[in-house]
């Protein structure tokens, strides 16, 4: 993630990226009316006079949307405006029913925050702070399906999404590479999911991203310019997957450099462009130059009154909020002694996964073992079943029991895996699963007896061991498992060595 500047034609290029992220808030109803916000409903079935923009209909604010925005704003270290106002952003589009979007221009709910990114490279952690300019609340538009009718080229309009609450998070241009942009978005998405503020599902469009990209570099002396060159900004729209975002920024950086090589136009000499990412052709495409259409004629919405946010409420939201990913990574490292990699992997799976881990590790005296099992076995099973941890059939207490068996050397890892698999398919407890698999615990006396028998039956092997060939004990352990598959290899080895050392 560390920003390494690109080199084009021997010139070191700094990529400057600012992101505008639209996040659909996880409310039951829309921002200004009481229609449901469910994704995937049949077209135009979650529509009322307000979100259809019928004449005479008026908006009434959903308090929960404000609450979720404040929670997100606090997690982004933002200032919360105690007084906000609603403004109308006027433009025509068929899926914008009122001909304006209700948004917050002058008094965004949240402003002046930051999000810290930490990544591990080799031994060292690299920290990067991305400043947040603002996070304001606004209503989503409906959906246009263009050219669905091949004969007429007509577009279809579905207003189910119209009026869904969106939090628009705008960063400062602090991002310096495509990888950093992706890292920011991943961390943001994880954080919002931890706060239960948004589903952040990019396929369903509940997290959408626009990127403002331009370049800064020192031109060659031959170009005749002094001082750094700053290229015109392009706003890239329609970035609805992390992969697109990375590729679009990378593409855009090289395109802007090539463009500059041809026309030598800098930021003051050319208008801001709006470009779209075309996944098929793997390139950004010019949509329009910003001009008259961008005269949005903002003014305070006369159908809504200013909103007052009380100090008490902010404090209450702050006190009640869930732990953030960064906080949990630290807890896993400090309290559970996990490596930064392990804690990263666990935290990245989401809050339920972390809670599951904590429940298991709390009962087992080996967090590292628990982490390994969750990262390797549990995650693999979840991926295979395409399940989330909430749907995982094995209770944390059962997994803890299994981990304890490993710790107590009642099971070796490979047989423990078999037990886990049996548990998964049957719903059995570890003890039940062991019975089904014919695994029984044997006591220390049985181990001692078995060891004696083996020593007596294999004098040559014992002699080799005594002569210093410690590896030879493997043959005895192998025989032990043949005689009694429940004999733990650790324990039998320990017992054999003790008898040989002590003995004859």
């Amino acid at each position: 993630m560390a920003a390494r500047n690109l080199i084009f034609d021997g010139i070191e290029i700094e990529v400057i990226v600012g992101l505008e992220v639209h996040v659909q808030l996880k409310t039951v109803t829309k921002l200004f009316c009481r229609c449901l916000t469910q994704f995937g409903a049949p077209p135009n079935t979650q529509v009322c006079p307000v979100c259809c923009g019928l004449p005479g209909a008026l908006p009434v604010l959903n308090r929960t949307a404000i609450q979720l925005s404040i929670a997100a704003g606090l997690a982004l270290n933002c200032q919360i405006n105690r007084l906000t106002r609603w403004d109308r952003k006027n433009y025509f589009y068929p899926d914008l029913p009122k001909g304006y979007q209700t948004s917050q221009l002058d008094f965004p709910l949240c402003h002046s925050g930051y999000l810290d990114l930490v990544s591990t490279e080799g031994q060292s952690n690299i920290a990067k702070r991305i400043r947040i300019n603002r996070a304001h609340l606004e209503e989503d538009a409906g959906k246009s399906l263009h050219g669905e009718d091949a004969d007429t080229g007509c577009s279809q309009i579905d207003l189910n999404r119209s009026g869904t609450p969106l939090l628009e998070i705008v960063t400062e241009p602090d991002i310096r590479s495509a990888a950093e942009a992706k890292a920011f978005l991943q961390e943001l998405r994880l954080m919002l999911a931890y706060l239960d503020v948004s589903d952040c599902n990019m396929q369903e469009g509940s997290l959408r991203c626009d990127a403002n990209v331009n370049l800064r570099f020192q031109a060659n002396r031959s170009s005749g310019s002094t001082g750094p060159i700053v290229t015109p900004i392009a706003e890239i729209k329609n970035l609805n997957s992390f992969r697109y975002i990375e590729r679009a920024i990378e593409y855009e950086a090289s395109r802007q450099f090539q463009q500059w090589q041809t026309d030598h136009l800098t930021i003051d000499q050319a208008p801001k462009q709006t470009r779209g990412w075309n996944e098929q052709e793997q390139k950004t495409v010019l949509q329009r130059e910003k001009e008259a259409s961008a005269d949005y004629r903002y003014f305070p919405c006369p159908d809504l009154i200013p909103y007052r946010v009380s100090e008490n409420w902010v404090a209450e939201i702050s006190a009640k909020r869930n732990r953030l990913p960064a906080e949990l990574r630290e807890i896993l490292q400090l309290e559970y002694q996990l490596s930064s990699y392990d804690s990263e992997v666990i935290v990245n799976q989401g809050l339920s996964f972390v809670q599951y881990f904590q429940a298991v590790a709390g009962q087992v005296n080996n967090s590292k073992l628990t982490a390994n099992w969750m990262i390797q076995e549990v995650l693999r099973q979840l991926n295979e079943a395409q399940q989330s941890i909430d749907q995982y059939p094995i209770a944390a207490s059962s997994l803890a029991e299994l981990m304890a068996m490993i710790v107590n050397d009642e099971l070796d890892q490979s047989r423990a895996k078999k037990v886990l698999h049996q548990m998964l398919t049957s719903g059995n407890t570890p003890t039940q699963a062991k019975q089904v698999l014919g695994i029984v615990s044997i006591d220390d006396d049985q181990i001692t007896t078995l060891a004696r028998e083996l020593i007596e039956a294999n004098p040559q092997v014992v002699a080799q061991i005594k002569a210093g060939n410690s590896k030879a004990i493997g043959a005895l352990i192998g025989q032990a498992r043949q005689r009694n598959p429940n004999a733990g290899p650790g324990k039998i080895k320990q017992e054999l060595m003790a008898l040989i050392d002590r003995g004859s």
Binding site: L54, G56, A57, V60, N90, F92, K98, Y100, D295, R297
Partner: protein, 537 residues
């Protein structure tokens, strides 16, 4: 008894009386509805007050009410009272056009809050009345559905934008009507048609379901033949509505109550306004000077003398920034309108002009279906909000608006109400103001300030000019001062008979009016005071 008592020249049958007859079973709601439906049938072809009347629709509501009464249901305070609704207010079951071709076939799937409240009070929705397109105008001539004529002179405009409502009440085609007032659209047509029109405090009556012209100025209110009737309607329609974020939380029970001497329950509400002693009426000298028709000026002076005899005193006040009220209004209102009318785009419920692509569809639909005045105001508002001009126009106007509001706040420290003309002229001839929009705007000079400041104001009849056209007197009060306005208006109407005059033509009736009062004794506490008794005393 039969419904013909409703026609009593030189008298007025109040809304409370109609409702009490229905509640007591003296008259059926269907008889009352039929009486007004017949008058509409008889007279509205000349007047064109209504854009839609569905006799079946009205009759069914009345019939349901009669059945409910038979079953012993308790009926509401407006039981069986037919009411005409300005066509900018959404109604299920009747088209809602806002006077525009844009909405010529629009049927709202929901009722405005005021309609819901009227229905809950058992009023009968009689029909929809004509208006200036999207309430932009002062003559009802900009309606896409023909002009409405003034019952006092068929050659004169009824005023606007609630011209259909005002003319319908003046011609007694409906006992009461709802209008909306963004810059005088209730008070000016009330003045032109010789009736009572109240614009309530901004936020007192829900705007949910009122087709927005200028959201921060629009307010629904009653057009009636008396202040007492206005109060009855206001009591039903006013009050907080959770569907309107600008609606104020003030319970309708605490609302204006006209104090009537005989009612014991009202003793508790009697305040210092019980009579008009000590009431200070403010006069703003500058509002009586330039442009005011001398006949109006003379008429109002007589009216003020009446109020002085009743105990009011006169104080001079100043409203220095109201000289900028009209330009302020003609920035604020078009700005809001330009945004409010963006939804008429040919996509979801409007008419649509054929086009090959979206851009053309937008432009053709909006250019061909909006009238000229609406388009002018959209352009003006779009300009005043556009990049580079916002501060000079919209922001500046909003600051001037603050100064106007502060002028009123200062004035109401010196006086209880402000008294003055409603309009600079009486009803003007049809077609006379079509040429120059600016001249039309200047006709709003006395009314727009109340909308800008958000205060209540009422226009009541105060005489006639030489050609027999009504003169309106305006009272403005502080926020939520409806009680004062109506109280003073009521006292004034108890001592004058301007509001009892009928346009002669519409008073003609072959059936002899029956004196309903003789028929049956009603408990005095329930019975509102009878205007005709007053008049004949």
């Amino acid at each position: 008894m039969n419904a013909n008592f409703l026609l009593a020249p030189q008298s007025h049958v109040s809304v409370s009386r109609i409702a009490s007859y229905v509640i007591e079973g003296d008259l059926k709601a269907t008889e009352i509805a039929n009486f007004f439906l017949n008058r509409i049938e008889q007279y509205d072809s000349d007047l064109n007050c209504f854009t839609e009347v569905d006799p079946e629709f009205a009759f069914q509501q009345a019939d349901r009410l009669d059945r409910r009464r038979q079953q012993g249901d308790r009926l509401g305070s407006l039981a069986g009272v037919p009411i005409a609704i300005k066509d900018g207010i959404c109604t299920i079951g009747l088209k809602t056009t806002a006077g525009s071709r844009m909405l010529e076939n629009f049927v709202s799937p929901y009722d405005a809050t005021v309609i819901q409240r009227l229905k809950n009070a058992d009023a009968i929705i009689l029909g929809k009345t004509n208006m200036d397109e999207f309430a932009m105008g002062g003559s009802t001539e900009s309606s896409a559905f023909g002009v409405t004529r003034n019952p006092w002179s068929l050659q004169a405009v009824p005023g606007g934008s609630s011209g259909g409502s005002a003319a319908a009440v003046a011609a007694w085609l409906a006992p009461v009507a709802l209008g909306s007032d963004s810059g005088g659209s209730i008070r000016q047509p009330a003045a032109f048609c010789g009736i009572t029109g109240l614009k309530p405090t901004y936020g007192y009556v829900s705007r949910y379901g009122l087709i927005a012209f200028a959201s921060s100025l629009d307010q629904i209110g009653p057009l009636t033949r008396s202040a007492a009737d206005a109060q009855q309607i206001l009591n039903v329609i006013a009050g907080h509505d959770p569907l309107d974020s600008t609606s104020q939380r003030r319970s309708p029970d605490a609302a204006c109550q006209i104090v009537e001497a005989n009612s014991p329950e009202q003793d508790s509400r009697i305040d210092r306004l019980c009579d008009l002693q000590d009431l200070k009426l403010g006069i703003c000298r500058s509002h009586w000077e330039h442009g005011l028709n001398p006949e109006i000026s003379a008429g109002l002076k007589q009216a003020i003398e009446v109020l002085e005899r009743l105990g009011c005193s006169i104080v001079e006040i100043e409203l220095p920034h109201t000289q900028f009220a009209v330009p302020c209004y003609y920035v604020v209102a078009p700005c809001e309108a330009s945004s409010n009318l963006a939804r008429y785009d040919g996509v979801r419920y409007t008419g649509r002009e054929p086009a090959k692509d979206l851009q053309e569809m937008y432009c053709r639909t909006r250019s061909e279906r909006f009238g000229a005045e609406v388009q002018r105001r959209i352009l003006l508002g779009t300009f005043a909000l556009s990049s580079g001009y916002y501060d000079a126009y919209y922001l500046q106007a909003s600051k001037v608006r603050r100064l106007i509001k502060q002028d009123y706040e200062a004035a109401f420290k010196l006086c209880d109400l402000i008294i003055g003309p409603s309009t600079p002229t009486t009803a003007f001839p049809l077609g006379s103001q079509n040429q120059d929009p600016l001249e039309m705007y200047l006709a709003d000079v006395y009314t727009v300030s109340a909308n800008l400041a958000g205060i209540p104001a009422i226009s009541i009849p105060a005489g006639f000019d030489k050609s027999g056209l009504p003169i309106g007197m305006q009272l403005q009060g502080p926020r939520f001062g409806e009680d004062r306005l109506l109280h003073v208006s009521h006292h004034f109407q108890e001592h004058t008979d301007w509001h009892l005059q009928w346009p002669r033509f519409y008073a003609n009736n072959t059936d002899k009016p029956t004196d309903a009062v003789q028929l049956r004794e009603v408990d005095d506490n329930q019975r509102p005071r009878e205007s005709e008794k007053e008049a004949s005393d």
